[in-house]
Subunit: 329 residues, 2 copies
């Protein structure tokens, strides 16, 4: 991917940092031809395979308080990543570290797109056999106003269009019934605003959807507050994990079952890949004035590589410019 600056990767962030992060960055360079700069403590990184390193002496821990960490750890890899984007030395930042601190770093150092009231976390939910669903806000703002949700809808539509090449994504509001009168006052007021002609310049508002519609091909972008979105995301993660574990335990409970399961591996293995959130590389923090990708804390090198590729693609597509255009409109 040409025409963009390097992607800044927080080499110290995540449960498997720095080894898996460095390996993911190497894969992004060698396999995808993307220019990467590792940010972190040079002596901790091991063999960097000739990747550029931007030194940062401090590390934000997974359980650090985000506000405190951002104020005190000014030479942390996270803060330095955000500053690299702010200062025009990187086109995007990627971190698998402390989510709250990543948001805070991006907000404080890169800042918001003009007109954006609150950035939101947009998560890509895999839907095997169909395009994925983008869910936002997945946890940046526990309590929201109708105006914020409208901006999330506008930004989510632009992100989905750029990310998956779909011209007119279907945007829905998460509620507890399809009728406009169902849900909380927040949902009802947001429904009224989104129903006004011209509210979305990219995408079309298709009304309310329910929890059961999230993992279907009937919707592209699902908008909700950060509390509900985070609960939905973790409920699905937990439910899918639990169900797969339960089935696998049963399927390997006898010798006969084990043999039959082996025969099924070629048809089951692709599903496992399709359901793996790592395929999509992480969540996007939409609304900050730069591309910021928040990867899962348990990210493998594969997840980091995918996150770097998505970051490069979104920088190349000028996602931030497109977001700024719809929010100001």
């Amino acid at each position: 991917l040409s025409g963009i600056l390097p992607i800044a990767v927080d080499a110290m962030g995540g449960d498997r940092a720095p080894a898996e992060v460095v390996e993911g960055a190497r894969l992004a360079r060698d396999e995808d031809g993307i220019d990467v700069v590792l940010v972190g403590r040079p002596e901790a990184l091991g063999d960097t395979h000739g990747l550029k390193v931007l030194p940062a002496s401090e590390v934000v821990d997974m359980d650090d308080d985000p506000g405190v960490a951002v104020r005190r750890k000014k030479d942390s890899s996270l803060i330095r990543c955000a500053e690299a984007v702010r200062d025009g030395r990187a086109s995007a930042m990627v971190s698998a570290g402390n989510t709250g601190a990543t948001m805070a770093s991006a907000l404080l150092r890169i800042g918001r797109i003009r007109g954006v009231q609150r950035p939101a976390i947009a998560t890509v939910l895999p839907v095997p056999g169909s395009t994925p669903t983008v869910l936002l806000d997945a946890g940046a703002n526990a309590e929201c106003t109708p105006a914020w949700l409208v901006q999330f809808a506008q930004m989510g539509a632009v992100f989905f269009a750029e990310r998956f090449g779909v011209a007119d994504p279907r945007v829905a509001l998460l509620s507890i019934g399809e009728e406009p009168g169902k849900g909380t006052s927040l949902v009802k007021e947001t429904h009224a605003l989104l129903s006004e002609p011209g509210c979305l310049s990219a995408g079309k508002f298709i009304g309310n959807v329910e929890g059961r519609d999230v993992m279907t091909e009937g919707v592209d972008v699902v908008v909700t507050d950060g509390f509900t979105g985070n609960v939905v995301l973790k409920t699905l993660e937990g439910g899918v994990r639990f169900l797969i574990d339960t089935f696998l335990t049963a399927m390997t409970s006898t010798e006969e079952a084990r043999q039959a399961t082996e025969v099924l591996l070629p048809v089951l293995a692709p599903l496992n890949d399709q359901l793996d959130p790592e395929t999509y590389g992480g969540a996007m923090l939409l609304g900050v004035d730069g591309v910021c990708i928040i990867s899962h804390g348990s990210s493998s090198s594969r997840a980091i590589r995918n996150a770097v590729r998505v970051g490069a693609e979104m920088a190349r597509a000028d996602l931030v410019g497109h977001l700024a255009a719809v929010v100001r409109a």
Copy 2:
């Protein structure tokens, strides 16, 4: 089950009424020895196998507005069920019909337990290999106050204890992080109230849980507002359904896979049963002054039979008396 009055079954409620409902009531009588009274239009019920019938000339449709239906259809099977409980002619009511109208009928005809601010819907989520999880409120109150959530916790603990014979159930608050400071102001204020000594006389408060904990053995009762609860319930229903369909499609996609899947049926079939919400017969409306069970609209005769059995057991155990005791305390 002796010592209780008959169970009033709304024979006209649900997508598969009256045939599956009548059959479920017959099974409850013949297999479980429970006295049942069918409520509905006698000429619509077909062969009632000698079950008693309480005539009601009107039917509340699935898409009727609950408030309007309850005001206008005074001779509906739903209203007559609630009146049978109120007038001491039935020990419990069971309906697979319009959920909102069932709540409204129970509230208006049976009334609340003294001291209960708002009734809540308690749903039983199956967890194969462990006791199930009770989630409440699953949709009765889209917007809640901390005081209501505290009562939901108190009532949920009593219900879990009576329903599953567990003396000291673990009660948790659904949030987006385990720390007390995480979540909305509603969650934070409720956390503080539930943390006060003696707040729960049955059960113990174990703090916040996240969406991924709902389907685990780590918690017994999960408390949340009716919006979040309904979204979680439907997200799980949809996610589980989608995942099973996706796996089954793959597992029958080739002749070789079909044969291997056949070998696995004996280990997979029990899981299907354990994951089936019909095993638990429906949700309980906790807080009204009588036993009221709201079954799924698609209930089969098996689901109705289980709902009748649960209704009889909860009447026999004097669930309402136990709820009244903890709420007044």
